[in-house]
Symmetry: C2
Amino acid sequence: MATAPRIPKGTRDFGPLQAARRTYIFDTIRSVFQQYGFLPIETPAMETLDTLLGKYGEEGDRLIFKVLNSGNYFDKIPEDQIRGDNFAGLAGKISDKALRYDLTVPFARFVVKHQGELAFPFKRYQIQPVWRADRPQKGRYREFYQCDVDMIGSNSLRNEIELVEIIDQVFSNLGLEGTRIQINNRKILAGLAEALDAKDQFSNLTVAIDKLDKVGPDGVLKELEARGLGQKVLHFFSERLNSEEGMSLDALETLFNTAETASEIGQKGVEELRFIFNRIAPEDLKTSRLDFNFTLARGLNYYTGAIFEVIHPDFKGSICGGGRYDDLTGIFGLPNTSGVGVSFGADRIYDLLGDKNLFPETIGSPTQLLFINFGEAEADYCSRELKKVRAAGIAAELFPDSGKMKKQMNYANNKNIAYVALVGSNEMESGKVSLKNMQTGEQQSLSTDEMINLLKNN
Amino acid sequence: MATAPRIPKGTRDFGPLQAARRTYIFDTIRSVFQQYGFLPIETPAMETLDTLLGKYGEEGDRLIFKVLNSGNYFDKIPEDQIRGDNFAGLAGKISDKALRYDLTVPFARFVVKHQGELAFPFKRYQIQPVWRADRPQKGRYREFYQCDVDMIGSNSLRNEIELVEIIDQVFSNLGLEGTRIQINNRKILAGLAEALDAKDQFSNLTVAIDKLDKVGPDGVLKELEARGLGQKVLHFFSERLNSEEGMSLDALETLFNTAETASEIGQKGVEELRFIFNRIAPEDLKTSRLDFNFTLARGLNYYTGAIFEVIHPDFKGSICGGGRYDDLTGIFGLPNTSGVGVSFGADRIYDLLGDKNLFPETIGSPTQLLFINFGEAEADYCSRELKKVRAAGIAAELFPDSGKMKKQMNYANNKNIAYVALVGSNEMESGKVSLKNMQTGEQQSLSTDEMINLLKNN
């Protein structure tokens, strides 16, 4: 016997119930995107290495799944270049494409490639899997779906507001209460670096404060010191990180307007966030809360304005995130085209909804009626009645093999089928079926039309 | 400026209209699958090489896209084994997984892996992309979607009948008339090989007669001769290939019952097809025709019974195909589990529906209403009305930037938006909107509630 088949590390199979629940998540998200006027696009699973490399930082590059060229890919490489220590050189020659790492870079590439065919501002959504060679752990997979919604070709902060509404609507439609939409602005972070004489240490500064959730205020201070940030930074953060006050928009506004810590870009960041907060009152959101969090940084370097991260108190890690990028398409040859968007992590949302028992009970039992198979003559008869039932829009089946009643009833139970129809010689003669309600055990004799009516009103 | 971005050969982007049309195809197919009681599953894009290799023939193995191991994959390979002429050896060491080539083998692997959790017979559908490193040409892509429907764990020929009904229902729901469902049975081909003393040349025989469509009767005869098939075969086919009569089930039945050409397996094949044809009258099918075609062979070796191929007179190549496999799961350790299924080629169906103008006109213009943006105050006002419109289930937008009216009207036209709402200071005062019908140019003054009613009944 062959050994039990395995699947690649970090990937998953989805059985019927799981797949139906995933479809429910995708459909819910898609219908909100559509209600807000976003249009679908799809891009290939593979992109050229040129498109992907250098967009996600050094770490990201390492995590990209590269696809081998077809044919004998060593053919055209001179023998003396095929050596184990020539890893990087060889890798570049035997592979010229890879699996996409996210949907944002392929989207930017798409926009540049198809700019002539698109109406700007272009509002698109995209629901497709991405792949990352990350170390698998709970909530982190090597293949997972992203549900992205982006608006490109408009600088208006109304787009940011719309994204907040979309996030609130999606989670409220999914029945998930208490999500926290955290917002910050990269300009505020840039302003802080400027105000605190750490302009050339912007990256070190953001990496350190981004860890507040994990390591606490003291941890951040240690990290800042270790990364060589100056006294001005340390002094500022030792004062602010422990007080709610110190982290407010008001406090930052004062900071950026004070002579010795003045920052124009910081002021701009505060102003942008004010525009948003002035237009979203807490009561405007159905089930979410919008929080300013100036320690939110997000790793990707292409963000230039607002950044978002959505968390839920019952879940570790973010379930949605994104931000504004002023020049992502510039890399591909289309400069000055600002965009903003967020990505819903469908797999984490799936885990969270499962943990909290939030999937509707009806998901996963589409078949309403099973005809029991008592033999060829009965099955032929049932086939004809089955056609009428299906034509009425009711999902129904005939058990394909005649055989043990118990096996057939078990099949109905396992599939959560609500009714079974029993048709033997008596029923064939009378033109009626015996319809059994699998929940109550109740059985009644009905014509096919009567049965269809009953099932339709069920 | 960067060069225009490319995508890998044989792959495609899908813009909004294309993506919406593809979703329409998937949804139509899915709803038929569900009506027949099939349940969804999903498997990973990548499978281990062990799972895939050796299942699709030598040609298939070559066309599988292999994925490079992550990290420095040359690390553990001794230096003397890294040589250009050691292609096969090296390839096996730097890659242990690959993109799936079809959905049938992953399905068999899935069934074996999850046999304990499944209710048999297991009826599953699966709609996912597959990848093949084929030479791209019209209608042949390197990434394309398959929509598979299979029933495993039942020998009943009623499953074959159900598949014919599903095929007919899918194409009729898509508005495509005139599809021809061709059916044959591998047992008939095996019977022919036996009857004509060519039992050990089964593969050569099937490859040759499978070409009838392409090369005609004389071509097949030449091919048979070239492949070394004997006089008995040549005599038989020179008589039969030119006459409709000679290719009927009746003629084959006679052949397999005649002493010098007797074949038990051939008889079984005829009997199986008779069971199916006796239960599907031409008038039972909505828009398709079911044809017996004894030259249909299908390349994949795992088929053991009925085989299907669906063609349309206006399209080159098959748009759906499949068959029965008695022991596909055996390779993975679960013997004696017969299954049967077909796969719809969504990308070819897309091309065909496009050629014939069969997509519904409403696809691809989901937004019903656009609020024109006359400035911040007006936009703030419109945002509040927009919320009411969306809450009523109507897809609507506010143009994010105030600016040239012409640009905003163009946007509405490009997106096929049916109505635009114009709200200036007069409208804000009166609490009404000026609603313009983009088709007729007609404009009327309405309250938001009146507008919602009009849009809902539109």
